[in-house]
């Protein structure tokens, strides 16, 4: 029940209160009222039928950077 599943917003419906989200090919209608400014293409975490959070787009764009940062953090520990 606490499992949040990542997905992608496909369509916003009903006055922005609901959305269709794709989970690796399976599409489901979920509650979209808890998150503001959703648009198709957004990465989101869906939990028990509701979008509870957007996944930071920046991190996904700069994912390499995020992992570089991780590598830096690791190096720091060695030092």
């Amino acid at each position: 029940m606490c499992l949040g599943v990542p997905g992608i917003v496909v369509e916003i419906k009903r006055d922005e209160k609901e959305a269709i989200v794709d989970f690796g090919g399976v599409r489901k209608e979920v509650d979209a009222f808890l998150v503001e400014d959703l648009k198709p293409g957004d990465y989101v975490i869906v939990h028990a039928g509701a979008i509870i959070s957007k996944i930071s787009e920046q991190e996904y764009k700069e994912i390499k950077e995020a992992f570089d940062e991780l590598a830096r953090a690791l190096q720091e520990i060695e030092a």
Binding site: M1, C2, L3, G4, P6, I8, V10, K17, E18, D22, G24, G25, E29, V30, D31, F33, L34, V35, E36, P40, G41, Y43, I45, H47, A48, G49, A50, I52, S53, I55, S56, E59, Y60, I63, A66, F67, L70, L74, I77, E78
Partner: protein, 383 residues
């Protein structure tokens, strides 16, 4: 056409990125550092507790325990909602289903967990009307489809499921034939409770990722100066990084709240969800299955929303509920005082197919996870 192509590309990218959080090479590097830092720590034993059943799943499924330095003990805490929901709630739902003309709607895990005597699944065998839903949105849909029948949703879970119900109430989207049997529980109060327990000394806490997506880093700051804590995501790299970050704090003599899961968790969390939760719920003292009353750890509907409370609508009081049946050590398992293998019934009289205690039911229950994925012994590769 164009849009859907773009869309397939994004999906590919998402999967690609998630796979990085399972990268074995990166995992190996982090584990090496964990050993280096652990060696620098003087304590002979370091107990790290996770507060989310999904973290225990990651730890066990990927065999993370067996890769840890011997001084590190990874222990699961009271982070399985199905395990800590009082038997009284299940008994009440069964009573409603058998005696009133209602359809009970419940999450799949709750469906199978034993109450004092029966589970909702067994009650269904006796003629009760019980249906499984994936989320509250599903419950709303079912109630709308069958408008002539009253429905009662078994409202359990932590700060992650609370807003999913509050969302429909707050925005006036509740069908008038749908009620909620509320048994919500809050994670910071049980964390405080755990830290006061004399039987266990916690050296670091892996904080729940999706609860924190709602309540924010901010809500954990009470842990600063008390115990090193890191909010973590649920992939193996997330959990390994959280362990490393905690060890680094211990080695430096710090006790801060850090956020490993910043791709999802913000400092203030989901502010809209928090606002809706506080509009809809009041905080009250609440009982946890096998543990007892924990101050300010539960939530009930505010007066103005009490019309949605199934307990107001129906007279469904049950007496003498039995939370823990004789022989079951679920209380100790939930508090991190015992491992499932310490229970004589584990994989004997209690199995995932025929659960005797509440920790053997949910995919977030420690006994279930150990039974399914081998607990301490197996170092399972991804597959």
């Amino acid at each position: 056409m164009n849009l859907s192509l773009e869309y397939v590309k994004r999906r590919k990218k998402l999967l690609e990125i998630l796979s990085k959080y399972r990268d074995p090479e990166l995992a190996k590097k982090i584990i090496e550092k964990i050993h280096i830092v652990a060696d620098r720590i003087d304590e002979e034993k370091i107990l790290l507790m996770s507060f989310c059943g999904t973290h225990e799943h990651t730890v066990t499924y990927y065999g993370i325990r067996s890769l840890m330095p011997s001084k590190i003990d990874l222990v699961a805490g009271p982070g399985c909602p199905v395990c800590v929901t009082p038997a009284r709630i299940i008994d009440t739902a069964i009573k409603l289903a058998l005696e009133e003309d209602v359809v009970i709607l419940t999450y799949g895990d709750m469906y199978k967990v034993p109450g004092s005597k029966l589970s909702l699944a067994q009650a269904k065998g006796l003629g009760a009307r019980v249906e499984v839903v994936y989320g509250f949105n599903d419950a709303v849909r079912k109630a709308r489809e069958k408008a002539s029948k009253d429905h009662v949703f078994v409202g359990v879970g932590f700060e992650t499921t609370m807003p999913t119900v509050a969302s429909y109430i707050y925005s006036n989207r509740m069908p008038d034939n749908l009620y909620v049997l509320p048994a919500y529980r809050l994670t910071p109060p049980i964390t405080k409770y755990m830290l006061k327990l004399k039987e266990i000394a916690i050296n670091g806490i892996i904080l729940p990722g999706h609860v924190s997506a709602i309540i924010g880093v901010e809500s954990w700051l009470f842990l600063e100066g008390i115990v090193p804590s890191v909010i973590a995501g649920f992939e193996p790299i997330d959990v390994l990084m959280a362990i490393l970050m905690i060890l680094r704090q211990i080695a430096r003599g710090e006790a801060r709240v850090e956020n490993e899961y910043h791709r999802v968790v913000k400092f203030r969390g989901n502010e809209k969800a928090r606002k809706i939760i506080s509009e809809v719920f009041d905080i009250v003292d609440a009982d946890w299955r096998g543990i007892g009353i924990v101050p300010e750890s539960g939530a009930v509907f505010k007066e103005k929303y009490s019309e949605y409370n199934a307990l107001e609508k129906y007279d469904a009081k049950v007496d003498n509920a039995i939370d823990i049946r004789p022989g079951c050590r679920c209380t100790d398992v939930v508090l991190g005082l015992a491992k499932p293998t310490d229970c004589p019934l584990f994989l004997k009289a209690c199995t995932p197919e025929r659960p005797y205690g509440p920790c053997m039911v949910s995919s977030e229950g420690t006994c279930y996870i150990w039974a399914k994925y081998g607990g301490y012994i197996v170092n399972r590769k991804e597959g």
